[in-house]
C-alpha cells in the first residue's frame, strides 16, 4: 500500500517493543462480539492508474459547464479562476496544515485569514468579518441565530426573495432551536405587483431580524436603506444576504445601506462549481456585535520581540472553550476556499473586480435583451446584475431539459425549488458571467427558439 510506510519488519519490531504478540492484542479492548475477522465486503486496494480510470469514467458521464453554452446560477456561479489561484492553494503548507492553533508555526494561514477578513469587510462595506463559515446558506442561518442573541428576541422575518435553500436551512435551524420564522411568499415581488412584500409591516416586538437578499433570488436589485431604518427604529437587525458576491463590485454594498449583518456565498471568487461544495460562507457585521459572532477570527497582535503577528482570537465565543454556551458549534470552516477567495480577489484588485463586475453585467444585459426579443418570452426584472428571470410561454422545466438535449445548459426552472407552485412554473432563472460569449448567447437563443416552437 503506497501510503503506508511501515514494513512488515517494522511491524514485528514495534510489536516486540510494545510486548504484544500480534496486532490483534492491541485491539483487545474491543468487545469480542464486535470484532470482525475478515475484510469488509468492498473492493481491494488499487493503484493510481486503476483508481484514475474508474473515477474518470464517472466524471466523463457528466456534462461539464465549460463544454457547453452555460447559463446556470441560482447561488453558484461559473467564473474564470486565474491559474495562479489553484496552484497556490495546492502548496502543501496551506493544503496539509490544520486550524492554526499554534500561531508561531501558522503565521501563513493566520495572515491570509486576516487579509480575507479585511477583504470581506471592504467588499460588504461592514466593519468586521470572520474567517469564514461553511457556505452562504449556513451563514444565513448563523446570522439569524446571532440576531436572536444580540436582540434577545426570537423571530426572524424572511423575504420571499431569499434563496429557497437558504430559507430551508434557516427553517431547519430555527425549528430545532425553538425559534420562530415568518417567511414571506416566494413569488417574486414583480409578479405580485407594485406593492411587493411589506417586510416592515411584519416586524413586531419579537422580531430579532429581517433577512433580505440582494440581488434577490430572482436577480432583482433592491435598495434596503429604508428597510434598515425601520428595522433599527423597531429594535430589530437587518440581515442582508448576497449569493453572488461579485455583484458587490458593481452595486452599493449592504454596509452602505444600513445592514447589521451580511451573510454571503463567496464561491464566485476563487472557487469552482464543484457540484455545490465546498464553498465558503462570508460573514460580516458591526464592531459592536463582534463578541456575538460565530466562527473563527484571526487578530493582530505582537510577539515576545514586539513584532507584528497574528493569532486566532476571541475564542471564548467558541465551542472548544465555552462548550454548550458557545455562539455556534462550528469548528472546521472553509479555510482553503477562503484562501482561494483571497488570492483571486488579490489578483483582481480594485480595477479587476469592478471591471469583472461590469463585464458580467454587460453580458447579462446582452442576454436579457436577446431573450426578451423572442416571442412569448418576457423579462420579469426591472433591474439585475448578472442574473435575471424570464417568464416563458410554457413550463420551464421541460424546456430546460430540451435545451440540455441540444447541448445548452440554459438556466434553472424556478419549479426546481417550488414544484408545488403552478404560478412559478413558467419562470426561468438565467445567469450570465464573463465566461459567456456572444456566440453562447446566440446558440442559447437559437435553441430556445427551436424548443419553444
Amino acid at each position: 500500500m503506497r501510503y503506508l510506510p511501515l514494513t512488515d519488519a517494522d511491524r514485528r519490531d514495534m510489536l516486540a517493543a510494545i510486548g504484544a504478540a500480534s496486532i490483534d492484542e492491541l485491539f483487545a479492548d474491543v468487545p469480542k462480539a464486535a470484532q470482525r475477522d475478515g475484510l469488509v465486503d468492498l473492493p481491494k486496494a488499487m493503484g493510481e492508474l486503476e483508481v484514475e480510470r474508474r473515477l474518470s469514467a464517472m466524471a466523463e458521464k457528466n456534462v461539464a459547464a465549460g463544454s457547453v453554452p452555460f447559463f446556470i446560477g441560482g447561488g453558484a456561479y461559473r467564473h474564470h479562476v486565474p491559474a495562479a489561484v489553484d496552484h497556490l492553494i495546492q502548496r502543501g503548507e496551506f493544503l496539509t496544515s490544520y486550524t492554526p492553533y499554534q500561531p508561531e508555526v501558522s503565521q501563513g494561514t493566520l495572515q491570509y485569514l486576516f487579509e480575507f477578513q479585511t477583504q470581506v469587510a471592504l467588499l460588504t462595506g461592514m466593519e468586521v468579518a470572520n474567517a469564514s463559515l461553511y457556505d452562504g446558506a449556513t451563514a444565513c442561518a448563523e446570522a439569524v441565530a446571532m440576531a436572536n442573541r444580540v436582540t434577545r428576541r426570537n423571530k426572524a422575518v424572511l423575504s420571499g426573495g431569499l434563496h429557497p435553500h437558504y430559507r430551508s436551512v434557516c427553517e431547519t435551524y430555527a425549528r430545532f432551536a425553538g425559534n420562530e420564522l415568518d417567511a414571506q411568499d416566494p413569488a417574486p415581488l414583480l409578479i405580485k405587483g407594485a406593492g411587493g412584500e411589506d417586510l416592515a409591516a411584519r416586524i413586531d416586538a419579537d422580531t430579532a431580524c429581517v433577512v433580505v437578499q440582494n440581488p434577490d433570488f430572482y436577480g432583482e436589485i433592491r435598495d434596503v436603506s429604508a428597510l434598515a431604518q425601520i428595522c433599527h427604529d423597531k429594535g430589530a437587525l437587518l440581515v442582508v444576504v448576497v449569493t453572488e458576491v461579485l455583484s458587490l463590485g458593481a452595486i452599493t454594498p449592504p454596509g452602505a445601506m444600513g445592514a447589521d449583518i451580511v451573510a454571503a456565498e463567496g464561491q464566485s471568487i476563487g472557487n469552482a462549481l464543484n457540484f455545490g461544495g465546498p464553498y465558503v460562507g462570508l460573514f460580516a457585521t458591526r464592531d459592536k456585535f463582534v463578541r456575538q459572532m460565530p466562527g473563527r477570527l484571526a487578530g493582530q497582535t505582537v510577539d515576545a520581540e514586539g513584532r507584528r503577528g497574528w493569532v486566532l482570537t476571541l475564542s471564548t465565543r467558541e465551542q472548544h472553550i465555552r462548550r454548550e454556551k458557545a455562539t455556534s458549534n462550528i469548528c472546521t470552516n472553509s479555510g482553503l476556499c477562503a484562501l482561494a477567495f483571497t488570492i483571486h480577489l488579490s489578483l483582481l484588485g480594485e480595477e479587476g473586480l469592478t471591471g469583472l463586475a461590469r463585464l458580467n453585467h454587460a453580458a447579462a444585459v446582452a442576454a436579457a435583451e436577446r431573450l426578451a426579443e423572442m416571442p412569448g418570452v418576457r423579462l420579469v426584472n426591472h433591474s439585475f446584475f448578472n442574473e435575471f428571470t424570464v417568464r416563458l410561454p410554457r413550463p420551464a422545466a421541460p424546456v430546460v431539459e430540451k435545451l440540455a438535449e441540444r447541448g445548452v445548459l440554459g438556466g434553472i426552472p424556478v419549479s426546481r425549488f417550488y414544484p408545488e407552485r403552478a404560478d412559478l412554473a413558467d419562470l426561468l432563472l438565467v445567469a450570465t458571467t464573463e465566461t459567456v460569449t456572444e456566440d453562447d448567447i446566440a446558440r442559447f437563443a437559437a435553441a430556445l427558439t427551436e424548443v419553444l416552437q
Binding site: 500500500m1 510506510p5 511501515l6 517494522d10 485491539f27 468487545p31 464486535a34 468492498l42 464517472m58 458521464k61 457528466n62 456534462v63 447561488g75 461559473r78 502548496r91 496539509t96 490544520y98 499554534q102 500561531p103 508561531e104 508555526v105 501563513g108 491570509y112 487579509e115 477578513q117 471592504l122 467588499l123 469564514s132 461553511y134 449556513t138 432551536a177 469552482a272 464543484n274 455545490g276 461544495g277 465546498p278 487578530g299 497582535t301 505582537v302 510577539d303 513584532r307 503577528g309 482570537t313 471564548t316 465551542q319 465555552r322 462548550r323 469548528c331 470552516n333 479555510g335 476556499c337 484562501l339 489578483l347 484588485g349 471591471g355 453585467h361 447579462a364 435583451e369 426591472h382 440540455a404
Partner: protein, 523 residues
C-alpha cells in the same frame, strides 16, 4: 511605486535588532507585509477584456444602485501575488513538512491523487442545479461513496450533506429529536462525557437540549454506574466519542448502548476517531444509532488550514426517515436526487446547507477509499494503533501516561512529569516546535491535568517516530536539568516568537485599516 519598502522598513525597525539583519529577514524566513501595504493603485493581476463585445456601450440595468466610491482593494500584479502567498506558505508547518501529531485531528498524509481527481472537469466544473440528466456520473459517485460508508460502518443509511464534523453532529442530533418528537416523547437532556469535544455540548445546546456531563472513571472510560444513574425518561441521547478522546476504546460500550436504549434514548457517536477502527470494527456492531465521519480526518481529504471538511452521518433504520434533504435514490432509469419533502420524504428534518453537500470532498474521500480498498483500510487502523502504542511504550518512562494499558490510535499523557519544574504543557509544546515538530494537542481532553494528546497516524514511518522519541526524550532531560527559562521562552526559531494572545483578545484588531483611519481610531 508602492509603499512596500516602507512597510518592510517598519518590520525591520520592529524586528531587525533581534534578527540581526538589515531587512528583518532571516534567510528563508522572509518578512511579508500585508497585501494592503503593497498597493500599486491601478495595478491588476488579471487582464480582462475592456468590454463585453455585444454591448460596448450598454445601458446599465442596476436600478440606480451603482456602487459609489472605491472598495479599497489593493492593486498588485501576478508575480507579486505569487510571491506573497508563497512566502506566507513558508511560515506554516504542515503534514508535508513533518510529523503533525495533533491528537483527535488525524493529521495523516494527503494523497495528491485525491486532488487530481477532484479537479476533473466532470466533477469540479458541474453545477449543482444542472438538469439531473446531465450529471449521472456525479450522482453515481455520491451513491458509491454512500455504499462504502454504509459498508464500513454497517449502518443502513447515510446523510451526506453535512459540511464538517460539527455540522454532522447537528444533523445527527436533529434526527434524534425528530424521531423522539414523532414518537410523542419529547425529551430535554443530552448526556455528554467530560472528555468530549466541545462541539458535542455546543451541538446539543443548538438543538435546544440541556447538557449534562458524565464523569470518567479511573480507567479513562465512561463511568457506567454514573451514566446509568443519569439515564432517565428525560434523556434524549448520549453523545459519546469512541475510541474516546483519551485514546481508549470504551470497553463497556455494549453495556452502555444497552443501557441507553433501555432508557428509550439514542446513542450518538462522535466518529472523529474512526481512523482507529476503520475496516476492523463496524459502529453498527457497537449499538450505535448515529455517527458522523470526518472525511477530512479518516479519509484524508486535506484539512486545508481549517477546512473545508465534510461530515456525513450514518444512521440506524429508526433515524433514517428523518435524514436531511437532499438524498439519492435508485430510479428505474438510474440515480435520482430527491430535493423536496413530499411523499416518502415527509419526515425529513429539512435542509442543512445549500445544494447537495461537499462534492469536492466526496471525490477525494472515495479516491482515498478505492486506493486503500478493504484490505488497505484495515491496515490503516492497525498501523495507526501500532504507531500510537509504539510511542506509548517509548515515552511512558519519561512522560506521565494518564491511563495504563493499550491505547488505540492516540496516546494521552498529562503534566505530572512537569510538576514543580516551572514548565507548563504549553512551554513543552513550544519547545517541541523548535525541534521541528508540530506539537501534540494540548490541554485536551479536560479529564486530565495539562493534557498532551499524541496521534501519530499510520502514515508515519518508524524512523519518523524514532526521531520524535529522541526529541521528546531529549527535552525531558532538559526539563530535569532545570532549564525552565529556555522552555518558557520557546519557540526561538520560528517566524514569530510567542504571541500575545491576551492583548489580541482585549483590544481586538480584526482587519487592516488605512493608516489615516488607524490614526483616527487611536485618537
Amino acid at each position: 511605486m508602492n509603499d512596500w519598502s516602507q512597510a518592510l522598513s517598519r518590520h525591520a525597525a520592529a524586528g531587525g535588532e533581534t534578527a540581526g539583519t538589515i531587512t528583518g529577514n532571516r534567510g528563508l524566513q522572509i518578512e511579508e507585509p500585508l497585501l494592503f501595504e503593497q498597493d500599486s493603485p491601478g495595478k491588476c493581476g488579471v487582464d480582462l477584456p475592456a468590454e463585453f463585445p455585444a454591448s460596448p456601450a450598454f445601458k446599465s440595468r442596476l436600478g440606480g444602485l451603482e456602487r459609489k466610491g472605491p472598495i479599497g482593494l489593493p492593486g498588485l500584479s501576478e508575480p507579486q501575488i505569487v510571491r506573497h502567498f508563497t512566502r506566507l506558505s513558508q511560515k506554516n508547518y504542515a503534514i508535508d513538512s513533518g510529523l503533525y501529531p495533533l491528537g483527535s485531528c488525524t493529521m495523516k498524509h494527503n494523497p495528491r491523487l485525491n486532488e487530481k481527481m477532484a479537479r476533473l472537469p466532470g466533477f469540479a466544473d458541474i453545477h449543482p442545479l444542472q438538469p439531473q440528466s446531465t450529471v449521472p456520473g456525479a450522482l453515481e459517485l455520491i451513491d458509491t461513496l454512500a455504499h462504502w460508508l454504509k459498508t464500513l460502518t454497517g449502518m443502513p443509511a447515510v446523510a451526506l450533506s453535512p459540511a464538517a464534523g460539527a455540522h454532522g453532529e447537528l444533523c445527527g442530533v436533529m434526527t434524534i429529536r425528530a424521531a423522539l418528537t414523532a414518537r410523542g416523547d419529547p425529551r430535554r437532556r443530552i448526556l455528554v462525557p467530560e472528555s468530549a469535544h466541545g462541539t458535542n455540548p455546543a451541538t446539543a445546546a443548538e438543538c435546544g437540549y440541556g447538557v449534562e456531563s458524565i464523569p470518567a472513571n479511573e480507567r479513562g472510560r465512561v463511568d457506567l454506574a454514573a451514566l446509568k444513574a443519569k439515564l432517565g425518561l428525560d434523556v434524549a441521547a448520549l453523545m459519546l466519542t469512541n475510541p474516546n478522546t483519551c485514546g481508549l476504546f470504551e470497553t463497556e460500550i455494549l453495556e452502555i448502548a444497552e443501557a441507553v436504549h433501555k432508557a428509550g434514548a439514542f446513542f450518538y457517536c462522535d466518529g472523529a476517531n474512526f481512523n482507529a477502527i476503520v475496516g476492523r470494527v463496524r459502529p453498527a456492531d457497537l449499538g450505535i444509532d448515529a455517527l458522523h465521519i470526518n472525511l477530512h480526518k479518516t479519509f484524508s481529504t486535506p484539512h486545508g488550514g481549517g477546512g473545508p471538511g465534510s461530515g456525513p452521518v450514518v444512521l440506524a433504520a429508526e433515524l433514517a426517515p428523518y435524514a436531511p434533504l437532499p438524498w439519492i435514490v435508485h430510479g428505474a432509469d438510474g440515480f435520482r436526487l430527491v430535493e423536496h419533502a413530499a411523499g416518502q420524504a415527509d419526515d425529513t428534518i429539512g435542509r442543512l446547507k445549500g445544494f447537495h453537500g461537499q462534492m469536492g470532498m466526496f471525490v477525494r474521500a472515495l479516491t482515498y477509499m478505492m486506493s486503500h480498498g478493504s484490505d488497505g483500510l484495515r491496515l490503516v487502523a492497525e498501523d495507526a494503533v501500532l504507531n500510537a502504542n509504539y510511542l506509548r511504550v517509548r515515552l511512558a518512562d519519561v512522560l506521565s501516561l494518564s491511563f495504563p494499558g493499550t491505547c488505540m490510535h492516540e496516546v494521552l499523557f498529562d503534566d505530572r512529569f512537569l510538576k514543580d519544574t516551572g514548565i507548563s504543557t504549553l512551554d513543552f509544546a513550544k519547545a517541541l516546535i523548535d525541534e521541528g515538530f508540530h506539537p501534540m494537542t494540548m490541554y485536551f481532553p479536560l479529564v486530565v491535568h495539562g493534557a498532551l494528546l499524541i496521534e501519530p497516524t499510520e502514515t508515519e514511518s518508524k524512523a519518523s517516530l524514532d526521531q520524535f522519541v529522541v526529541a521528546v526524550r531529549g527535552l525531558v532531560e532538559r526539563v530535569r536539568a532545570g532549564d525552565a527559562a529556555s522552555f518558557q521562552a520557546a519557540p526561538h526559531f520560528t517566524p514569530r516568537r510567542r504571541l500575545d494572545e491576551t492583548t489580541a483578545a482585549r483590544k481586538p484588531i480584526l482587519r487592516w485599516r488605512p493608516e489615516a483611519e488607524q490614526r483616527e481610531a487611536a485618537e
